[in-house]
């Protein structure tokens, strides 16, 4: 019987290939990378003395006016008051999530309109100067953890930062300019600014 004869090779080959691809391969990759690239293998974490500030690759939920803000985030988390319920928890890096909003849904248009009102209220100087509001600053990212914003979105917030921190606008503008990651070889990728790194550089200005 073909079926029975195939059972032994099937079982043995499944077992050995599992060992190879499910244990040896990931474990050896872990071992090699922890020796050669320990920081990256551990998640590119940023430390400040004993404290872990975060990961350079993972966005944080900036709400204070003295910091540059990232993009809206659609992640949710357990309600601290009632763990059986979920509440919006922006930049929850334990559970990545997108809005998955339909382009023609009321929910999307209402949410973006609310984000727009908030961005306008937070940046009166930019609104007064009639600067266009960049799309990424009012739409949620795919991961809910987007660490970056477009250069336009960073420049849009410069006047606010300068006012709140009481430093010259030109200094902040130059800092943003300096922090832009340009496309590789001039074409691969989009110009962007890492918000956490930008805010850390901002804090460093005062030291």
């Amino acid at each position: 019987m073909t079926l029975i004869r195939q059972l032994r090779p099937a079982l043995v080959i499944f077992g050995l290939l599992s060992l190879l691809t499910g244990f040896l391969y990931p474990l050896s990759m872990t071992a090699i990378s922890s020796v050669l690239m320990p920081n990256k293998a551990a998640g590119s974490l940023i430390h400040d003395g004993k404290r872990t500030v975060g990961s350079v690759l993972i966005g944080q939920n900036f709400t204070q006016s003295r910091y540059f803000h990232g993009r809206p985030s659609a992640t949710i988390g357990a309600d601290p008051a009632d763990p059986t319920k979920s509440v919006p928890t922006p930049y929850n890096a334990a559970a990545s999530m997108a809005s998955n909003a339909s382009p023609t849904s009321k929910a999307l248009v209402e949410r973006v309109a609310a984000a727009l009102t908030q961005v306008r209220a937070e940046n009166p100087e930019a609104v007064a100067a009639d600067w266009p509001i960049p799309m990424d600053l009012v739409t949620t990212s795919a991961s809910g953890l987007d660490p970056d914003i477009s250069p336009q979105a960073a420049f849009f917030q410069v006047k606010r930062i300068a006012r709140v921190r009481n430093i010259p606008e030109e200094t902040v503008r130059q800092l943003v300019e300096h922090m832009i990651t340009h496309p590789l070889m001039g074409w691969l990728g989009e110009p962007h600014v890492n918000v956490l790194e930008l805010n850390m550089a901002l804090d460093a200005l005062h030291r």
Binding site: Y25, S102, M135
Partner: protein, 568 residues
């Protein structure tokens, strides 16, 4: 649409073309059991596996023995993954204390990974233990891809042999592909990914104290090793919920580019392997050209669509210049997201770096159409090629009807039995895709899972069954899968895999048994522009005519509604 976007698309395509020949040559050496560099290093492992399994690798199987071997192997894989997921709570390597997976979800996930679909009804970082990710899912990423390539090789052998009774040995094809093709490339890819910032650790989550002084828990794990095979094997099951949109899975534009290349690499290489095995590389390039044409058209349409801002948001007074950024990552932007969406649905990968559900209606329709065409635009590793060969058979059959000659492909007469088998495979997919969609939009348990109403809700359901039956695995991810969906999607995935594999192996067996006729002046050549145009037309007509009514109810009507400013 910007200049650097076109440069990116062209650079990507040039890289795919450049990879095709070297990979095709190597794949042929491996699958024909010829000498190659890696054989000298890893050869003892290969022979050790055969000894332990008690098989002789050069003892070949008939098509039915080959098919039985495939099925026995798949059943064992299914049982192993299902059991592992159910019991992960009490097994080791579970630093975040994940509980056992519910029965319907474990069933859905096991089928999903065994069939190379990698539909994810779960969120990786909140459901799976590290052990499940490694020993369950990563293993299936390897062996389901290797099985696909093995079957493609067997089918090609059917076309190249004369009056033969066998089409190869499944176990040898499976082991060789895993050892010599998938594993070595994955080692290189995984280390490159770590170098670019993808984590690879067995530790659990880290808690950070952010710049503003709040707490942020960051999920980590052995991501890079899974990421490599997820792309190379066109699997697409992400470590994290948001897949390749997560900065840990895909940290920058370079990793994004490499991931897209990895998705197409083996699918493109297999067209060249096909050409080499049938003794004329041009036959492979003909297939490549038809695939490339469909790929380029899809890419341009998606890029064009997504480069426009959503008119409903533009109307609020937002600057439209960045395009449709809802559900996209800043570092990839429009071109990096649109190209990825096209590539991942051309190949049956299903990894996503942007949310297809939030694409504008026509931009989201391209991924849907790519899957409806049967995942033959480079396609899943192996499955793309044997799927394409079915359309090639239909194309020569039609050409034969037009001139009144018995159709031939590669010197093999195409007769009633082959056409019946081809039609069985080609018709099963739409039946499952459209049939289940129709069911889901009338029963309450189907409707309750949809995240939105109106045409977009319909598209969400259609996308889900299309993705499952085509073994893609991407989603309009607003869908909240409940037991109804988990069970029906599981069935769709099985039909999509096995109702193609078995007929296609039967065709291979029939082809191997036939004599090969020498080409005459009346033979329809299958390595010319005419054939490329004909087969492309067949793919579009079979896909287009079958699905046009459904597309009209979904994305097309939604596009018109959007232009009129209608909200749902």
């Amino acid at each position: 649409m910007l200049f650097h976007g076109w440069v990116t698309i062209m650079a990507f395509f040039i890289c795919v073309v450049a990879m095709t020949r070297p990979l095709g040559g190597f794949l042929k050496r491996v699958l024909e059991g010829e000498q190659h560099v890696l054989g000298r290093i890893i050869g003892p492992v290969e022979r050790g596996i055969y000894r332990a399994a008690g098989i002789q690798e050069d003892r070949e199987q008939s098509w039915s023995q080959y098919a039985i071997a495939v099925i026995v192997f798949k059943v064992i894989c299914f049982i192993a993954v299902y059991t592992l997921l159910r019991f992960q709570g009490v097994l080791p390597l579970n630093p975040n204390g994940m509980r056992g997976v519910a029965p319907d979800l474990a069933y859905n996930t096991a089928i999903s990974f065994v069939t190379n679909t990698n539909w994810q009804s779960y969120a990786g970082e909140t459901t799976m233990s590290h052990l499940s990710q490694m020993l369950g899912l990563t293993v299936q990423n390897f062996v389901s891809a290797a099985a696909g390539i093995a079957i493609a090789a067997a089918v090609i052998r059917g076309f190249t042999r004369r009056s033969a009774a066998s089409i190869g040995n499944f176990w040898a094809d499976l082991v060789r592909t895993t050892l010599y093709v998938l594993l070595p490339i994955c080692v290189v890819l995984a280390l490159l990914f770590v170098l670019e910032g993808v984590p690879q650790t067995l530790l659990g989550s880290v808690t950070a104290s952010t710049l503003e002084g709040t707490r942020q828990t960051i999920a980590l794990g052995p991501v890079a090793s899974q990421e490599a095979i997820k792309m190379l094997g066109t699997n697409g099951g992400g470590f994290f919920n948001v897949n390749s949109a997560h900065p840990f899975e895909n940290p920058n534009a370079l990793t994004n580019f490499v991931q897209m290349l990895a998705i197409f690499a083996l699918g493109a290489g297999l067209t060249n392997m096909f050409g080499r095995m049938v003794g004329r590389e041009r036959q492979g390039w003909a297939i490549f050209s038809a695939m490339a044409a469909l790929f380029l058209v899809g890419t341009v349409v998606t890029y064009w669509s997504e480069a426009h801002a959503n008119p409903l948001l533009h109307a609020l007074g937002i600057d439209p210049s960045l395009g449709n950024m809802e559900g996209k990552e800043t570092r990839f932007g429009i071109v990096g997201s649109a190209l990825f969406a096209t590539v991942t649905t051309d190949a049956s990968c299903g990894a996503v770096n942007a949310m297809h559900e939030s694409f504008l209606p026509l931009g989201g329709m391209v991924p849907l159409v790519n899957m409806m065409l049967g995942e033959v635009i480079f396609g899943g590793v192996g499955s793309g090629l044997y799927g394409f060969l079915l359309f090639a058979i239909i194309a020569v059959f039609m050409a034969g009807l037009m001139v009144g000659r018995t159709p031939e492909y590669l010197g093999k007469k195409i007769e009633a039995r082959e056409i019946k088998m081809t039609m069985l495979a080609v018709l099963c997919l739409p039946l499952v895709m459209l049939g289940f969609t129709a069911l889901a939009v009338v029963v309450p348990s189907g409707l309750s899972a949809l995240s939105t109403s109106g045409p977009h809700g319909f598209t969400e359901a259609l996308y889900a069954y299309t993705s499952a039956a085509a073994n893609n695995g991407s989603a309009f991810a607003g869908l909240t899968a409940n037991p109804f969906w988990n069970v029906t999607l599981g069935i769709a995935m099985m039909v999509g895999r096995f109702f193609v594999i078995i007929p296609v192996l039967a065709i291979a067996g029939a082809m191997a048994a036939k004599k090969t006729a020498a080409p005459t002046p009346g033979t329809f050549p299958t390595d010319t522009g005419l054939f490329i145009a004909l087969v492309t037309g067949v793919i579009l007509i079979v896909g287009g005519l079958t699905f046009l009514p459904a597309l009209a109810l979904g994305p097309i009507v939604e596009h018109l509604a959007m232009l009129r400013g209608t909200l749902f």
